[in-house]
């Protein structure tokens, strides 16, 4: 994962140099290569929490004074009315949807969104997908953007045994086989969950109304899928290493804030669904064993 030095140092009070941060990253166990002002990070599989600017800053806070403050939308949001059924709550125990409509698509980006593309030398897709990619880079939570005008009818999520063709948003046709977690729109697959969406519901440069899906998928359901179908997916890389199941509201409010910095929002509404039962069982012998090992 590539992370720009300027995106880290802008949150660090001491303003350390590239070399100083590099040395601290090695001390933290984060292998990387330096390419100019970019850290090409190679995280160990147990550090899915570090796959973002905020994640890495949390670790660097051991050495520096780090300011995590990122503006979010603090408005009260209407509840989104959506016909959604989750048929595999064990696979997806937390899911949220945000519907947002803007007056017009911005001609250019500013602030952190502009810096994300210029510092990392990335190509732009379309406005909402670009915001989604930036949020994933900043907070670590992948989101999926559907063109809201194409989402009419019953939406459902389920992990199923499949044997069918699916066209990804990049136009690649793949044969879904065996167990796959997928989203359906009126019984048609529109998203291979956590990996890639379909062409039929994807956003384009004219999209002004978007449905943002923000979900937690258990890593076991996602792992190996991008390799199996030969799809480059940063989202699946993150879901495989686990994401924060409780970050949805922060992610969505940050998403709205960045959109609002670029365009006038006409309408927005949100629904957050948590199916996870809050249970905590303290197993004393296990705890003692952990304490002994420390």
């Amino acid at each position: 994962m590539k992370i720009a030095y300027n995106h880290l140092v802008s949150h660090i009070q001491e303003k350390p140099s590239v070399e100083m941060i590099s040395e601290k990253l090695f001390q933290l166990g984060h292998e990387h290569e330096i390419q100019g002002n970019i850290f090409d990070m190679e995280f160990t599989p147990n550090r899915g929490d570090c796959l973002s600017i905020n994640g890495l800053l949390r670790d660097l806070a051991a050495f520096y004074t780090v300011n995590f403050k990122q503006d979010i939308c603090n408005e009260k949001l209407d509840t989104l009315k959506i016909d959604f059924t989750n048929l595999s709550k064990d696979i997806c125990p937390n899911i949220s949807f945000l519907k947002i409509e803007v007056e017009e698509i911005p001609a250019a980006y500013n602030g952190c969104l502009d810096s994300y593309f210029s510092e990392l030398g990335l190509n732009k897709n379309n406005f909402f997908t670009d915001v989604s990619n930036y949020i994933s880079y900043e907070i670590g939570q992948p989101t999926h953007c559907y063109d809201a005008s194409k989402i009419e009818g019953k939406l459902a999520f389920q992990e199923l045994d499949l044997n069918c063709e699916f066209e990804t948003l990049l136009g690649k046709k793949i044969n879904l086989k065996e167990k796959n977690p997928v989203f359906f729109l009126n019984d048609e697959i529109i998203n291979l969950a956590g990996v890639v969406g379909s062409k039929k519901t994807s956003c384009n440069k004219e999209t002004t109304s978007v449905m943002v899906e923000c979900a937690f998928f258990v890593p076991e359901s996602i792992i190996g899928k991008s390799i199996k179908y030969d799809i480059q997916s940063e989202a699946s890389h993150k879901f495989e290493r686990s994401v924060d199941p409780k970050c949805h509201e922060l992610v969505i409010r940050r998403f709205i804030k960045i959109v609002s910095e670029h365009a006038k929002i006409k309408k927005m509404s949100l629904i957050i669904m948590n199916y996870q039962k809050k249970k905590f069982q303290l197993i004393l012998p296990k705890l003692m064993k952990l304490l002994v090992s420390i």
């Binding site: 166990g29 599989p45 792992i223 002994v292």
Partner: protein, 241 residues
């Protein structure tokens, strides 16, 4: 019959053979470790998943267990071992502490480029006894690397992650070009692994380390492409006689 020599016929090389540089390196590292008191144990190259992954605390979700990293055999019941650690599991199940094992041999992963091969060699060691500490591990690593690269070599320990050791570290050496090069992985044996092998983790602790033989050979002999070792190029191989 002509007395003229055929100058185009290939020359018959009558030199005696010698050990392959990788075998030579493996043997010398194992001899060194035996001199420190380690006992050599051996195990199969075709392993059951339980010994290669489960007993070593490698969870089902770990990337190393995916089809793209591991050679699975016979409908996923067996694997070509991805490291020599399962040999140590077998050793720990057979003997009770104090134990000091080393195992060396071929391991298999789905990798193939100038620094990785689908088959390569490892030497791994484990020491389990009462009150084994990270200080002892560091001391041992220094001794091994000083023996291999000389006492002037500069080392650094970096925190890392292996499911079977906690804490874990990777060790780098400073090359003559001023670059840090990863040379081995090590750590204190995860108590879960000891428990899996019926060793009381409240009484015993352990240290473990693993070295990639090809990597050490590349560094020692300044070979840039790992594949050179396996091209059967006698001009290349005879340099290491």
């Amino acid at each position: 019959m002509s007395n003229n020599k055929d100058i185009f016929s290939p020359k018959i090389i009558k030199d005696s053979g010698s050990l392959h540089p990788i075998n030579h390196m493996k043997d010398s590292i194992m001899s060194l470790l035996v001199s420190f008191g380690f006992e050599i144990v051996d195990g199969p190259e075709i392993e059951i998943e339980e010994f290669n992954f489960d007993m070593l605390n490698i969870k089902k979700t770990h990337p190393a267990r995916q089809m793209h990293d591991t050679f699975y055999l016979e409908k996923k019941s067996n694997v070509l071992r991805t490291h020599t650690s399962p040999v140590q599991i077998r050793g720990m199940l057979e003997k009770k502490p104090p134990i000091a094992f080393i195992s060396g041999g071929k391991v298999y992963r789905k990798d193939d480029d100038s620094t990785h091969l689908p088959m390569f060699h490892q030497v791994e060691g484990i020491l389990v006894d009462e009150r084994i500490s990270f200080a002892q591990l560091k001391d041992l690593i220094y001794k091994i690397l000083f023996s291999l690269f000389g006492e002037d070599v500069e080392l650094r320990f970096r925190p890392s992650y292996f499911p079977f050791t906690e804490p874990s570290a990777e060790v780098d050496i400073l090359s003559s070009e001023g670059k840090w090069l990863e040379i081995l992985g090590c750590g204190l044996v995860n108590p879960i692994v000891l428990d899996n092998c019926n060793i009381d983790s409240t009484k015993y602790s352990g240290l473990a380390f693993g070295l990639g033989i090809e990597r050490i050979a590349m560094l020692k002999h300044q070979v840039n492409d790992i594949r050179e070792f396996y091209k059967s190029n006698l001009d290349f191989l005879s340099q290491f006689k």
